[in-house]
Symmetry: C2
Subunit: 308 residues, 2 copies
């Protein structure tokens, strides 16, 4: 059997990205951690961690991290049945990757439920799709919300519904820049606001409905979900915003919709494919929250998925 | 004189991180952009852009980008006086680096003022101190909000005041985990929430006031300023939060302060050292906003600055 004391040291170094932090987390000295990692590497006959800055796992290192996370998950499950069995009991730990728009909207109550119901500490990573898939594969996260439908090897994927994006502006901005409604010329004369993750979606929106190409409209850049909506509300930009994020501004009259177009983007829940009661509960919690907030995927969203 | 058509192509490739996006932004074909960059490199006799993924500037490339940004700033100034002089007039453009806590609080109105008063589109980068300094030096940003006091070469630095951080929890969390007040044992038994940027500050807070070392207390991780406060309000974590971000929750009774300790962190405004009316206005706007929101640096903050 694997020596889990050694594996734990190695996995915590990878997870925290440093020997020092792993030592703190495990309450050991840094040299004890180094020794354990070295010993495991000697036994396996392969390096597990590249001593770069920040440190990075080798491929076998990633595979071991994945295994370690799975074992921890199973232990967490065991804890409910045999509370005193596991040394240093307390809280379990679950790492999830989530896109920024989800985190700012329907995902908000997921950490609370994971903690209250399952006693799990959440470790949230805000990532784009490419990174998310790497993180799943490397075992850094156990589940991920993503706009990609294709499953990662060793994972399952389920539909979560769709996020709907609409165009919003402040009323005074609409009066100044869109007095005759929105058209290509008007879009080229006043600024949009881009959020790195939104770029493609926004570009698609203006290209599809108004024939305006990316780069043709001036734009601010604001890589914060909150700051992004604020700039529209302040009347210094037009923006394509997720419906729930636009709702308070629309209700209070700080925002109006200058056109009725909608783009839907389907969201998917990726999770490891393993038999685990705990993971099933995590899956249920995520999907229940999504179901409450997100409409079901319309025809529209399917089209977008295919054409992108 | 430098051929600015070539320089513009090169600078936009660096700024956008891709030939394709630069082509879009300038309304040229990708091969036209490539030719211009190649021509400039041939003239200078040095590579300006490394064709990696994503592309990266060489050192002379960075120096040229810096020069280009300065020229653009001066042009923007000229525009106010001689509006028709500059081809393709419209909006100017200013790139700034800001730490996440500032962006979520006192910085909120800065983009609005820069746009309304100076006609500038803002390009905000959320960065930690190390990156911020690299970005200033490479000319990627023209100004930066940072907790570092040491100026970057070619830049000036001014004090902005201090952010004050306090410990907050939901009332029910306090009742459950801190019935006898906050002490080291209590902190080890219930979860905190870490925001990557907050880590050091939070660690310092608990070490300094309660003698608890990092890694000794369990913690969620939530890399979103909004999500961070939400988790405290939901009663699933204790948190050290910037005062303005805690204010709505404290006022509404969703949060309480389980202890009276405060940590101050001084903030500084770094900007290029160049004679420019426009840059002076940008400096004034940033400093005026800071002055309205941030208290002046107390003795406390100085100590922290020195001891860290």
């Amino acid at each position: 059997m694997i020596d889990y004391k050694l594996l734990e040291a190695c996995a915590e170094v990878i997870r925290h990205g440093s020997f020092e932090k792993a030592a703190r987390a495990l309450g050991l000295t840094q040299s004890a951690i180094s020794q354990r990692v070295k010993l495991l590497e000697d036994r396996i006959g392969q390096p597990l961690i590249m001593r770069t800055k920040p440190i990075a796992p080798t491929q076998p290192g990633e595979r071991l991290l994945q295994h370690y996370q799975r074992v921890r998950l199973l232990e967490q499950e065991l804890r409910d049945d045999v509370p005193d069995l596991i040394e240093g009991a307390g809280f379990g730990h679950i790492a999830l990757a989530v896109n920024a728009d989800s985190l700012a909207t329907w995902f908000t109550n997921v950490p609370k439920k994971l903690f209250d119901e399952l006693g799990l500490l959440v470790d949230i990573k805000v990532e784009d799709e490419v990174l998310t898939h790497q993180s799943l594969q490397s075992g850094r996260v156990l589940g991920a919300v993503s706009t990609r439908e294709i499953p990662v090897q060793g994972c399952k994927v389920r539909s979560l519904g769709a996020m709907r994006y609409i165009m919003v502006v402040a009323p005074e901005f609409a009066a100044k820049y869109f007095p005759g409604g929105v058209d290509a010329d008007a879009l080229r004369r006043c600024p949009a606001v881009n959020f790195s993750e939104h770029d493609e979606l926004q570009n698609q929106f203006f290209h599809r409905f108004f024939g305006v190409n990316p780069g043709e409209f001036p734009a601010h850049t604001m890589p914060s979900s909150q700051g992004f909506v604020t700039m529209a509300e302040q009347g210094i930009a037009y923006a394509v915003v997720e419906e729930h994020q636009a709702a308070p501004g629309l209700a209070a009259g700080r925002l109006v919709q200058p056109c009725a177009h909608v783009i839907e983007r389907a969201l998917f829940w990726h999770h490891w494919n393993m038999e685990s009661r705990l993971l099933s509960r995590v899956n249920d919690i995520v999907r229940d929250e999504a179901r409450q907030f997100l409409p079901r995927v319309g025809k529209n969203a399917h089209n977008i998925g295919k054409h992108q």
